[in-house]
Symmetry: C2
Subunit: 326 residues, 2 copies
């Protein structure tokens, strides 16, 4: 069977089966990041590979490639509630590429890392046929305050930071060469994303958040992952899902389905999380501390699957992920 | 200027200039690995990218690709004297590749990690035109026992673990399709290397080792790096440089220069290090603890450059690195 015939989740399952989990490895393959014991703390570590033809739409500048690579890694750390310690990059580049490109790429990485309160501490540069950037991000967390995907409990509320849909709408604009006028914010969301690092740390500290995942595959796909890993049923109130203000306008103007951006569009780099509902005051404080707007969009029930409540109806949400464009 | 026109060291310099070093970053870009403070310890982290057409000679099995990727990362940790905590892999693969390949690759990674006392804790799998494997390895060390490249001091002895030249001779055999008969050990050194993890940890504990680097670019190139980073002169006694027993025979048989393997061949994954000479007994204990054979090959002097003492002559050793084969 070819790689193109198997989904990412099947490959994660395979990796989980093959790779033995060491004694100090608190969280292994399959969550946003791994967690490894160091005394009373945990090292949180993750890696992501971005390949030019697949992850960077035409028109992405070298600085923006650097930035997105940083954000992809830090967003995983944020979803675990970790404080970043540093990042490493292995970069494959065609030998005919101009050195100026590398300079700009490095500048983008350095600036983005510092914007998120961390540093590029090392890397490796290799010759390859196409531009590919593999970033490794690592951070630290208290071992009893790690946010995984597997601890959502019936009775929890489901919430999300920020607004959804802008990044995939921006991608649509770029790939379709649609008129950008008035939609610069969508392009910016796609090319210059931000990771919710401070917010993730605040959620971890709050003591009321039970699970978290970053919204990179699209809200629907990430809800399904949360549901499967926590073995719970998730019900989302469609009208409460926070949409980026320009997305509905953009979809209407071009005849797109707004759900394709808000529910099924990826790379928003927001945090999707669940929290205990028993102490609303505490949750309010959490929201305030996190800095980002937070919206409660649903609730966790006993059972399985992800459902959308819309106009009094309960519909099963398709488990459809964000497709990269190659 | 094109990337192919600038050397690796120029790019490291560039990265050092562009990427700011954070306050908790004890060792940043340019050593075998980075070191970041965590309480009284240091996280040691490194990344390496291996690209199929450049780092894996024809005939390398998926398991061997996995193994070499593990060893490349762990060897850097070993050169810092760190205890490995885990490894992450970002793997780019063509979509037409068989899933069986991925299974075998993962098995090779898992087995190699466990052979070296550590674990594969996560990864990312992406579509790319060619096979590329970016590994990130991280470990832990006591902050005052990290082995860097920059602390060799005049008066130190220079030593190396194991025997040199086998891996590059094995590469020559494979690329030249030369008769393998009797030279299996050379092939094995190239395709199934081993990282000196326990040895590096023992050297760090010994208290007499002042600097270390792993021999991946070739002895000459790695000596030059040590000389430059420590701002010292290194003098090597050519006849004491430990050669893999088959290398001289192989070179003689095919009319190759043995120095091209022993001095200028790469990927031996041995440790090159310097140590204080004042307490021979202590050094002996270090050697015994390290497990691997260790050979003193020269001495550190005030000054700069790397020189070879051969037949009473002092020759400047060319600063020539190991060329990958693409």
């Amino acid at each position: 069977m070819k790689l193109s015939d198997v989904g990412e989740r099947a490959l994660v399952k395979l990796a989980r089966r093959i790779c033995k989990r060491g004694p100090g490895v608190r969280i292994g393959i399959g969550d946003d990041a791994a967690a490894i014991d160091i005394d009373d703390k945990c090292l949180i570590a993750t890696t992501d590979m971005l390949v030019a033809g697949m992850h960077f739409p035409p028109g992405t500048s070298p600085e923006q490639m650097g930035r997105k690579s940083v954000v992809a890694g830090l967003s995983d750390l944020a979803a675990m509630g970790a404080k970043p310690l540093g990042m490493l990059f292995s970069v494959g580049l065609p030998r005919g590429l101009d050195v100026g490109f590398v300079k700009r790429l490095m500048r983008g990485m350095d600036l983005a890392a510092r914007m998120h309160g961390t540093w590029v501490v090392g890397g490796d540069l290799d010759e390859s046929e196409e531009i590919s950037i593999a970033g490794a991000a690592f951070g630290i967390a208290h071992r009893d305050k790690i946010l995984t995907r597997s601890r959502a409990r019936p009775g929890d509320l489901i919430a999300v930071t920020g607004k959804l849909g802008a990044s995939s709408a921006g991608l649509k604009l770029l790939l379709g060469r649609l008129p950008i006028d008035g939609y610069d914010a969508l392009i910016k969301a796609q090319l210059e994303p931000h990771a919710r690092v401070r917010e993730g740390m605040a959620l971890a500290r709050s003591g009321v958040v039970t699970s978290a995942i970053d919204v990179t595959d699209g809200l629907a796909a990430n809800l399904w992952q949360l549901s499967k890993e926590s073995r719970v049923k998730l019900i989302i109130d469609r009208k409460r899902v926070p949409e980026h203000p320009l997305v509905r306008k953009f979809a209407a103007e071009h005849g797109f389905n707004v759900d394709d951006f808000v529910l099924f569009g990826g790379e928003d780099f927001e945090l999707l999380f669940t929290m205990r509902p028993r102490d609303p005051a505490r949750i309010k404080r959490t929201l305030a501390r996190a800095g980002a707007p937070i919206t409660v969009i649903g609730k966790v029930l006993r059972g399985k699957g992800v459902y959308l409540e819309e106009g009094g109806m309960l519909l099963k949400l398709p488990d459809r992920g964000y497709e990269h464009f190659r």
